[in-house]
Assembly symmetry: C2
Homo-oligomer: 269 residues x 2
């Protein structure tokens, strides 16, 4: 049987068609049961993370990308929300500052990568530098190709120095985005999350989908895999992501470091 990782792993001819966004291959058919499983898996991820923190052998990096409203925040909350604040950090990359723009695009990203034993979630990432920038023609094709190479080199280096990388594209359909934007507009309590610029970006929907396909094709690698997650259903999205993360962490066989026999002889006075 194919592993969950294999099932959702991007392939070289990856298409991000709207239809696939609504699929629910992992669902039990019972939403409450699915939710319970997400909770259990989120708890298991938290427990494994504690061991990884003690072990100080790996660095875990989760990259979340997707269109506006695709559920990046909800994923952080639902899948990684049970991890001890000591062990997890979530980094939201916004529009770069003047200082950040004066550096190469990986400069601010590199500062935030996890250290040994740490678990870091990128809520948007260096991928914005080949997405929004390319869709709006702020960079040309040649520069974009150059950046793909920079990203491949950067991620390979991170991997070769102990970083376990998982990249998730939260795949929603245009209809689902419409629904979610309308909900935000309808609820004044959600206006703080809403930026009218999101409506402008929505006009570039097709260009974004094409660009995501190219980005995934150009930067997918065994040591830095892309997973394409059907994300029209929030519960199912969390179910798939927590399943993949759990599978991957278990493969690392996390174990508490062995005790030190010398310590056992010490006396506390």
């Amino acid at each position: 049987m194919a592993s969950t990782q294999q099932s959702f792993r991007a392939d070289k001819k990856q298409k991000v068609a709207d239809a696939a966004a609504g699929e629910k291959p992992l669902s039990s058919g019972d939403k409450e049961q699915d939710k319970l499983l997400v909770e259990q898996q989120a708890q298991q991820i938290a427990e494994l993370q504690e061991i990884l923190y003690a072990e100080r052998k790996y660095k875990i990096l989760i990259v979340l990308q997707g269109m506006d409203t695709s559920g990046k925040d909800g994923t952080v909350r639902g899948v990684f929300g049970k991890i001890d604040p000591l062990g997890v950090s979530s980094v939201a990359f916004k529009s770069p500052s003047t200082e950040e723009k004066a550096h190469d695009f990986l400069w601010r990203v590199h500062k935030q990568v996890p250290a040994l034993g740490e678990f870091t979630i990128f809520n948007r990432s260096h991928y914005e530098d080949v997405l929004i920038t390319r869709v709006h023609d702020w960079i040309d094709e040649k520069e974009c190709k150059r950046r793909y190479q920079h990203i491949r080199d950067f991620e390979r280096m991170l991997s070769e120095t102990g970083t376990v990388i998982m990249k998730f594209f939260l795949h929603i359909s245009a209809d689902e985005q419409k629904k979610r934007l309308e909900e935000r507009i309808a609820d004044p309590n959600k206006h703080w999350k809403f930026d009218p610029a999101d409506l402008e970006e929505r006009k570039y929907w097709d260009a974004y989908q094409n660009q995501y396909e190219e980005v995934i094709r150009e930067t997918d690698a065994d040591h830095a895999p892309w997973y394409v997650i059907p994300a029209d259903s929030k519960t199912h999205r969390n179910l798939v992501i927590s399943s993949i993360v759990l599978e991957k962490l278990n493969k690392l066989k996390p174990a508490f470091p062995p005790g030190n026999p010398e310590f056992s002889k010490l006396k506390v006075v």
Copy 2:
């Protein structure tokens, strides 16, 4: 009735006698019931934090200090563990690096203070620079006094620019520390947390207690209060801290920002 904040607020003649470390004034007498209340309060803190994040009006800074094994990590987990990773960051200050030592002692600290809407926990802090350094005579009394003034100025500035500061001294007795160190030594799975240097530091117990009294006296302020938390009981420690934090956050009357009537007229196409 005195508020919980007032009850545990340090006073100008603050003593940190061993006896007080075991007191349980907030306990219901039933440990399971106390634990349940901690869970509920931790959940309420998480909910208020979400509103503070949306509101972007305050910056919340929690400082945790205490002797080795006093329960700083356990406090992060038990009191702040339910906050969404999007909204909380926990910063552990270790021995300063060469670069950090080449700067003033507040340099690395200032970089980590919360921005608007953020909630930051300092697990140890700039207070180490007037504790371990003074106890070991790495700085003299004159330099220490100068640093108190630097700290007072720094915290007043943070407060005047929107930071809500709460400083907790987790107060354990020497006997309780002995018990906890012995537990770590006895359990090989806990050896990764154990540093034999902790036994060396323990020899300076009295000097640390005296120094904590001085630090609290010198740096307590209404805008940056010290709370002295009896911490021999883990549950009761979390009960007191969660009560104080909750009381303080509620006083800020967090509210979602008002909706924007213009947004309500927008159409999603």
